[in-house]
């Protein structure tokens, strides 16, 4: 197995690890950096459960080679809450009842953060389009839409 060392700016810290050249950023986050918040649900970029923000772009970490993330800024769901305090998007998901099994939740929260940062007052159509890459099997999305609108009203306006 060929390996190489990569260095990330991970949630504001410089972190390095030895990764297999064929392994995804998702595997590296979960298995090498001990950040299991990003989830492995489809491994094909279909469900968004592994969403992270890399150099300001929302990406599916299962579709990014760990080696290709070398030197990049990576923000995961663990990097959103500061000093144990919930990020406003996280709080909105809790309050709106948008969490059931929760497996899709970290990816949705990262995707919502990316949306609201770019578009602080999205219309419902814009929210639906922005979150179309995140599959939730439990909620039917109604409470998720509610959470996004709550977060938008509460914080980004």
């Amino acid at each position: 197995m060929t390996t190489r060392t990569i260095e990330l700016h991970l949630n504001g810290e410089r972190r390095s690890a030895e990764v297999a050249t064929h392994e995804s950023l998702l595997t590296a986050l979960r298995e090498r950096f001990g950040l299991a918040g990003s989830k492995n649900a489809c491994e094909q970029g279909e469900c968004g459960s592994c969403s992270v923000i890399m150099d300001g772009e929302l990406v599916c970490s299962c579709l990014v080679l760990a080696a290709a993330a070398d030197g990049k800024q990576v923000r995961t769901v663990e990097g959103l809450s500061a000093n144990g305090e919930m990020h406003p998007v996280q709080r909105a998901y809790v309050e709106a009842g948008a969490v059931q099994c929760g497996f899709c939740t970290p990816g949705l929260i990262v995707a919502t953060e990316a949306l609201l940062r770019a578009n602080p007052e999205p219309s419902e159509a814009e929210v639906r389009e922005a979150l179309a890459g995140n599959i939730c099997r439990c909620t039917g999305y109604g409470r998720i839409l509610e959470a996004v609108q709550r977060a938008a009203k509460g914080t980004y306006r």
Partner: protein, 782 residues
């Protein structure tokens, strides 16, 4: 545990005038796991780690049906990092496993019966090494011709896939005059495709060997104790040497009722004396769990000219796949509820579930009630049209009322507001009547296929019913241990059950019940495991009733004991024992912690009558009605669901926000079955084992839901709460298809509806001629 345990009379919560706490029954209390989940800190099974753990992997059959001639593991055993390779000959026992029938080998020995059947196991230092070693195992197969049609499997001369033949279970329901005739008759053949539960969290577990030769398994499951009773015999261990601990569960929907990797993971840990983690990827998950039974159904309904039902006759054939799982109970449900939530004086139902060489099928949300609801609701619409009345009118006219029997002879007791929910559903606000011009809001969405031209809008209705809790004489119980103690802040209760939180929110329900009963806010839930009694399964919409009932009972026993302690203190004891916990002057009562374990049972149900299906087999029933509005692009056959309205009878909403979450989520799965979700098989081979090819509803597919939560408290249920999880998935599918039929005029006799079915009016045909009510073993080729 004795069956003669007293049945508690569980009244609604007592008015606690002097004890006020937040987060009690009836409030939308916050989930106790929500904060950890939004922060990414909640540990699901696939997140678990242990020092020195190995990775386990499964080698599976590429054939639907084949003899195994030989297995050679010598090359695999020499691969780097490999710690163990196991085949059938390495198993400690020959014990079989299975949810209701033990018919599955832990590893295939001489024959494989479906694509994906486990053949060998590998444990290695990492997953890449384990997979490489599995590829290096040489298995020589002699392929046999697979049986893939369940009707063919039932005919005389079909190859026997199991020693006792291909019938897993047959169910006959005969009620009233079997030869009844009617003025208006409609008949049809219907088909339901194979749906996947598609829980987002793939199967995973971590097995840790113990110094005493036993093993502890951290697992995502729906029922710890049932798993234990299947696992231990296959490990050759007594149950005391196997402990199961619930890990975080990433959704279930029935798929985790059956074992997947549980035994395999323990075997590898015991063999290597190292912790072993197994975690399926998405493709393996499609092979590694049971699916919703595909169904073929032949129906005939007879009614008076004014639309009153006279009889229903039906033959139902479900494809059980290679192993039985819960097929017997699924066909029993499909047959019991084959006439739907309507008064039907005469009925004859023949239901059979057959072994084939397809993937094993088992539990999925709705459990048999989904399949027959699709057929009988299509029939109700045809009957309404033939009688010249509307879809709402025919359902209101025939809807069950309290005291009416269903076709099993069981009368509706407690609450059965069918006409009411249909009416209330019909009265809910409709979507705006205009077809939009923005392509994003039309069928095809970003594909930009239409600006509204060629688009037809229509509305359809459906209603459905299902049992809650376990039925047919099953000893259905749930256990809860409640410990009351005091620390420097005050009284705190610790609630320990084995109830599996799979996303549905039973943890919140249990907290709310404990807070309500004890009158204190500080309640902590212990990790569910097998050191406390069984809670039964998180299925059949039953945990609110059952684990809610067990926690309530344990709390009341704890309070009774607390009152006993107070009585011996020589002071005036308040009427409401909860005041003892609120009043600091009584703090000394908890110098010693107080603990009680209670077992809750619902009332007994009768066993299923094998001759005619007549029995009081169910404890209570759930009802929902759905109205769907769709836009259909008639040129491309694409559908956009515009709105779903629903009225659902829940008994009582313990947590209104969670109830809405269950309703919306269940409708999304019903929408999936209506227009997109199907595991496609060719010669027993799954052709779409990925989320790229198995389509799931996204946020763009899911319309707004208007929900009317109807509360008729059930007198037997704790707080009157009946359960909520399954009905949203039962009648939403036929309501959406009814709307598409109304928009297109096409017959659409199968789900999921495909674009071809809409554009060309293609009807699904099984190729078998069956008279509704006939034994399908005597089918003739059409």
């Amino acid at each position: 545990m004795s069956r003669s345990a007293p049945r508690l009379t569980l009244a609604p919560p007592r008015p606690g005038a002097r004890v006020k706490v937040r987060g009690i029954v009836g409030e939308s209390a916050e989930r106790p796991d929500a904060v950890a989940k939004v922060k990414g800190e909640f540990a699901y099974a696939s997140d678990l780690r242990e020092e020195g753990m190995l990775a386990g992997h499964t080698l599976r059959s590429p054939h639907a049906y084949a003899r195994i001639r030989s297995i050679d593991v010598t090359r695999a055993e020499r691969m780097p990092g490999v710690r163990a390779v196991m085949t059938a000959k390495d198993l400690p026992t020959r014990a079989l496993f299975g949810l209701m029938k033990r018919d599955q080998p832990v590893l295939a020995a001489d024959v494989v019966r479906y694509v994906g059947e486990p053949v060998a196991l590998v444990a290695a230092d990492d997953m890449d090494q384990a997979k490489a070693a599995a590829r290096a195992i040489a298995v020589e197969y002699e392929p046999l011709r697979p049986v893939t049609d369940p009707v063919a499997a039932l005919q005389k001369g079909a190859p026997k896939l199991h020693p006792q033949g291909n019938v897993i279970e047959s169910v006959r329901v005969a009620y009233g005059d079997l030869g009844a005739s009617a003025e208006v008759v409609v008949s049809g053949e219907y088909e339901v495709g194979m749906q996947d539960q598609a829980a987002l969290g793939p199967e995973a577990g971590l097995a840790i060997p113990r110094v005493d030769g036993g093993v502890t398994l951290h697992i995502a499951t729906q029922w710890l104790h049932e798993d234990l009773s299947q696992i231990a015999p296959c490990l050759g261990l007594p149950e005391e040497k196997v402990r199961l601990v619930l890990s975080g569960v990433g959704g279930a929907f029935g798929a985790r009722e059956d074992l997947s990797l549980q035994i395999h993971c323990c075997l590898l840990a015991l063999r290597t004396k190292r912790p072993v983690r197994m975690a399926y990827g998405r493709e393996e998950s499609f092979y590694g769990h049971v699916h919703r039974h595909p169904a073929r159904m032949w129906y005939e309904h007879g009614a008076t000219a004014s639309g009153r039902l006279v009889y229903v006759r039906a033959t139902l054939v479900l494809d059980g796949g290679a192993y039985a799982s819960s097929s017997g109970a699924v066909i029993a449900n499909a047959a019991c509820f084959a006439a739907g939530p309507y008064r039907v004086p005469n009925a004859l139902i023949e239901g059979v579930v057959a072994y084939t060489n397809g993937p094993p099928n088992g539990a999925m949300r709705g459990f048999g009630a989904v399949q027959s609801c699709f057929a009988y609701e299509a029939q109700m619409d045809r009957l309404a049209a033939a009688c010249g009345i509307g879809p709402v009118a025919i359902r209101v006219l025939n809807g069950l009322r309290e005291g009416d029997p269903i076709i099993t002879g069981q009368a509706m007791e407690g609450s059965a507001p069918v006409a009411e929910i249909v009416r209330r559903c019909a009265e809910l606000p409709a979507s705006s009547p205009e077809i939009p011009s923005d392509p994003l809001l039309l069928p095809g969405g970003t594909g930009n296929l239409t600006h509204g031209e060629g688009v037809a809008r229509a509305t359809g209705y459906a209603a459905g019913m299902k049992n809650v809790c376990y039925s047919h004489g099953f000893d259905d119980f749930a256990t809860a241990r409640v410990r009351l103690e005091r620390d420097e802040t005050g009284a705190i209760a610790r609630v320990h059950t084995a109830s599996a939180e799979v996303g549905q929110g039973v943890v919140t329900v249990m907290l709310q019940v404990a807070r309500t009963e004890l009158g204190i806010e500080r309640v902590q839930l212990e990790t569910p495991d097998t050191t406390v009694g069984s809670a039964g399964s998180s299925s059949a919409s039953r945990q609110t009733w059952m684990s809610g009932g067990a926690v309530q009972a344990a709390c009341r026993e704890v309070l009774a004991e607390l009152r006993e302690r107070a009585m011996s203190a020589g002071r005036t004891v308040p009427e409401d024992p909860r005041e003892l916990l609120a009043d600091p002057s009584w703090a000394g009562l908890l110098d010693e912690p107080l603990e009680r374990t209670a077992t809750y049972r619902h009332r007994d149900t009768d066993p299923r009558d094998k001759e005619a299906g007549q029995s009081n087999g169910h404890v209570a029933f759930l009802f929902a009605a759905h109205r769907a509005t769709v836009d259909v692009d008639l040129d491309t056959g694409l559908v956009r669901v515009v709105q779903v309205a629903t009225a659902q009878d829940v008994g009582r909403a313990i947590n209104p926000l969670a109830v809405v979450g269950q309703i919306e989520g269940g409708i999304a799965q019903g929408l999936g079955l209506a227009v997109m979700e199907e595991i496609q098989l060719k010669d027993g081979q799954v052709r779409n084992a990925s989320f790229t090819d198995y389509l799931l509803p996204t946020i763009l597919d899911m319309p707004p839901v208007v929900a009317d939560v109807v509360e008729h408290p059930h007198p037997d249920a704790p707080y009157g709460a009946k359960g909520v999880g399954e009905p949203p998935t039962i009648s939403s599918t036929p309501a959406i298809v009814a709307a598409i039929r109304a928009a297109t005029g096409k017959p659409l006799n199968r789900v999921p509806v495909r674009p071809d079915d809409i554009v060309f009016g293609t009807e699904a045909r099984s190729g078998w001629k069956i008279v509704p009510g006939q034994d399908p073993a005597k089918a003739v080729r059409a």
